[in-house]
């Protein structure tokens, strides 16, 4: 076991989360490792089914049992393993030390409680404020997240607010107790692009002011480039590449990362002709390939890729990649007959 790094607020080691369905076990998250340095931002990117959201729910221990369960691994938050915490200890951490904002601001707020009440609730639980104090602080929080006339908004119900405003309220709830780690699961996916810009700007500003560490889960590579220091690219429950943001975008190593970057239609570049694509689609979680998970779609696949899962290898610069191409094995491999045309 590795010694915990003092600079890291969170270390996820060999996290495995499975769902048990009638058709069998789905390993939604399958041996994921990454860490978040204090005050820094990590992005977890991937397409649907990559396990990125389940990773974040696992950290919060919010995976719905009994269907889903964290089956292995460690989640070390400030030197303590969250997976061994009691229910009560976990409650004291959630919304207090680690907070979360979700994708759908429309449905993530309780429709029958006022915005003020929903912010005040965390304050009353964790900071033991009384009703009046919590209300004052709630108004303060609304002001902090840039909601105009907070005294009025505090009494309003979520349906009276626009999507952008609701996401601001979500952020106010999440930051109310000044958490050390904020997990944002697709925080701007449901928002319009000009509102997305406002919200990203707000999150960035508040992160700087409050010194919060941030974990962003998204499928939007633009958001990652904009916000993150380090990036973990996930595919079918595994991290395939883990590197600093500059490397990911300028010198990606894994064929999946490369394919992903190339298939983004660019608004800021004049490109003619076809988009380059990753062929095929994500395999069903019940029919995962036995070797590398990406082998069915990889343009470089050789025999060893079908046979054996590559390890997540650490390079000299500390970046990691899970691909046979970047191992000594690759050159030794005779070029196998590709199974694809």
């Amino acid at each position: 076991m590795t010694i915990s790094n003092q600079e890291n607020i969170l270390e996820v080691r060999n996290l495995c989360t499975s769902f048990f369905t009638d058709e069998g076990e789905v390993k939604a998250v399958d041996g994921v490792d990454f860490s978040i340095e204090k005050g820094k931002t990590i992005g977890i990117v991937g397409e649907s089914g990559s396990g990125k959201s389940i990773t974040s729910l696992s950290i919060m221990r919010l995976v719905q049992e009994p269907a889903g369960k964290v089956v292995d691994g460690e989640i070390v938050f400030k030197g303590e393993n969250l997976l061994t915490k009691t229910k009560k200890e976990m409650r004291d951490i959630r919304g207090n030390k680690i907070s979360m904002i979700f994708q759908e601001p429309m449905t993530s707020l309780n429709p029958t409680l006022t915005c003020g009440e929903q912010i005040a609730e965390s304050l009353r639980i964790h900071q033991k404020l009384n009703r009046k104090e919590a209300r004052v602080k709630a108004i303060e929080m609304l002001k902090l997240v840039g909601i105009p006339s907070p005294e009025k908004r505090v009494k309003q119900y979520p349906f009276e607010l626009s999507g952008g405003m609701r996401q601001r309220v979500m952020i106010a709830i999440a930051l109310a107790c000044n958490p050390e780690l904020l997990i944002a699961d697709e925080p701007t996916t449901a928002l319009d692009v000009t509102i997305q810009a406002q919200i990203l700007e707000l999150i960035k500003k508040l992160q700087e002011e409050l010194g919060t560490s941030l974990m962003i889960i998204t499928h939007d590579l633009g958001v990652v480039a904009e916000m993150c220091d380090r990036v973990a690219v996930m595919y079918c429950g595994k991290v395939v590449e883990y590197a600093d943001v500059k490397t990911i975008f300028t010198d990606p190593k894994h064929p999946y990362t490369i394919g992903l970057l190339n298939s983004v239609p660019r608004h800021d570049l004049k490109v003619e002709g076809e988009l380059s694509v990753i062929k095929g689609s994500v395999p069903s979680p019940f029919e995962l390939p036995s070797g590398c998970r990406f082998v069915t779609r990889c343009p470089h696949a050789r025999e060893i890729c079908h046979r054996e899962l590559p390890a997540l290898e650490t390079k000299e610069d500390g970046n990691q990649v899970r691909c046979w191409i970047h191992t000594d094995q690759w050159e030794k491999q005779a070029e196998a007959v590709s199974t694809h045309e």
Partner: protein, 332 residues
């Protein structure tokens, strides 16, 4: 080169009544689309972009007469669609097809793919019964689905494949115009790229004309020839793709483009324009220029006088802003 106009929209208005008050009468209107005009030429792709509530989807629906427009003309191939009765419009739908964001919702879950496509062929009666099977196979082949998958149900396909089925259904009747309403928005990036390429390929193969409705400017830049930018039911800017993306003139378009997070990490970032506040309600849109409440360049007259679309260059680039009265504005 003379271009033939396939679709001409003139002064289209789509107001939806709001019921309320003591007796449930119409108390107000949502002005979803408020007096817009544009032309789509044969064989080109015109995109309509904008944020939620700008009226882009409503425009698409109005053209197909899925809603009945409040006023205006929609000329398709020279014929005014709004003058057709129901039966004639149904026939006309053979020429105008739509692909939705969520193909799943528009595919009958109890029909196999073959049944879905055969039904579409049958309704418009394009081919004889005997040829139908072959035609279905050809269609699926065209969109990249194997004939062996023909007897499966929609839920057995992935999102990308379902969208391919939706495309196959739209193409089954040999339409002239295909309206793609957020057709790739729900798809993952890698699948989205596949579908976009497919759409482009099909366009060339069948000489299709696309009206592409989307909020994703990256997608739009990739697929379109010309672009219409809408804000609160109005066209704010319209122009050739390159001209519009490289030299956006309306302050809203500029803000919209600058707001998209770019994957260019190496380059120095451009100054981002962050708009204040939310889009106002389309029930009571601001007087004058609808964008003036959020516009960083707003002047006094913007609150009272509605700007016209000013021509900016020879490539049919127009924008509706008072700043642009005397041609392009120097934003630097």
């Amino acid at each position: 080169m003379s271009k033939k106009a396939l679709l001409e929209v003139n002064n289209l208005k789509q107001y939806f009544p709001i019921k309320g008050g003591l007796f449930g009468g119409t108390v107000n209107h949502v002005k979803a689309v408020d007096d817009i005009s544009f032309v789509v030429y044969e064989g080109e792709t015109v995109s309509v972009v904008g944020e939620s509530g700008c009226g882009k989807s409503t425009t698409g629906r109005a053209i197909l007469r899925l809603d009945d427009p409040t006023s205006g003309d929609i000329l398709f191939d020279g014929e005014n669609l709004l003058g057709l009765n129901k039966a004639k419009m149904r026939k006309k739908r053979k020429d105008l097809q739509i692909i939705f964001q969520d193909p799943y919702a528009s595919l009958n879950p109890r029909q196999t793919v073959r049944q879905i496509l055969e039904e579409a062929l049958e309704i418009q009666n394009v081919v004889s019964r005997k040829e139908r099977r072959q035609k279905v196979e050809d269609l699926l082949q065209t969109v990249g689905i194997g004939a062996h998958q023909m007897d499966r149900y929609p839920h057995e396909f992935s999102g990308g494949q379902r969208q391919r089925i939706g495309i196959a259904r739209a193409l089954s009747v040999d339409p002239k115009l295909v309206i793609c309403d957020e057709a790739v928005s729900a798809l993952d990036v890698s699948i989205q790229a596949q579908v976009l390429n497919l759409l482009k390929e099909l366009q060339q193969k069948f000489q299709l004309t696309y009206l592409f409705i989307s909020h994703d400017l990256g997608v739009v830049r990739h697929i379109s020839d010309r672009i219409i930018v809408m804000y609160l039911g109005k066209i704010v800017e319209i122009g050739d793709k390159d001209s519009l993306f490289e030299n956006p003139q309306h302050p809203y378009t500029r803000a919209l483009l600058s707001a998209i997070p770019s994957i260019n990490v190496g380059e120095k970032k451009k100054e981002r324009i962050i708009l204040k506040g939310d889009v106002p309600s389309p029930i009571d849109p601001p007087a004058g220029c609808r964008f003036h409440t959020r516009c960083p360049y707003a002047m006094d007259r913007c609150a009272v006088e509605e700007p016209k679309l000013h021509s900016l260059s020879e490539v049919e680039h127009k924008a509706a802003c008072h700043l642009l009265e005397d041609g392009p504005y120097d934003y630097s």
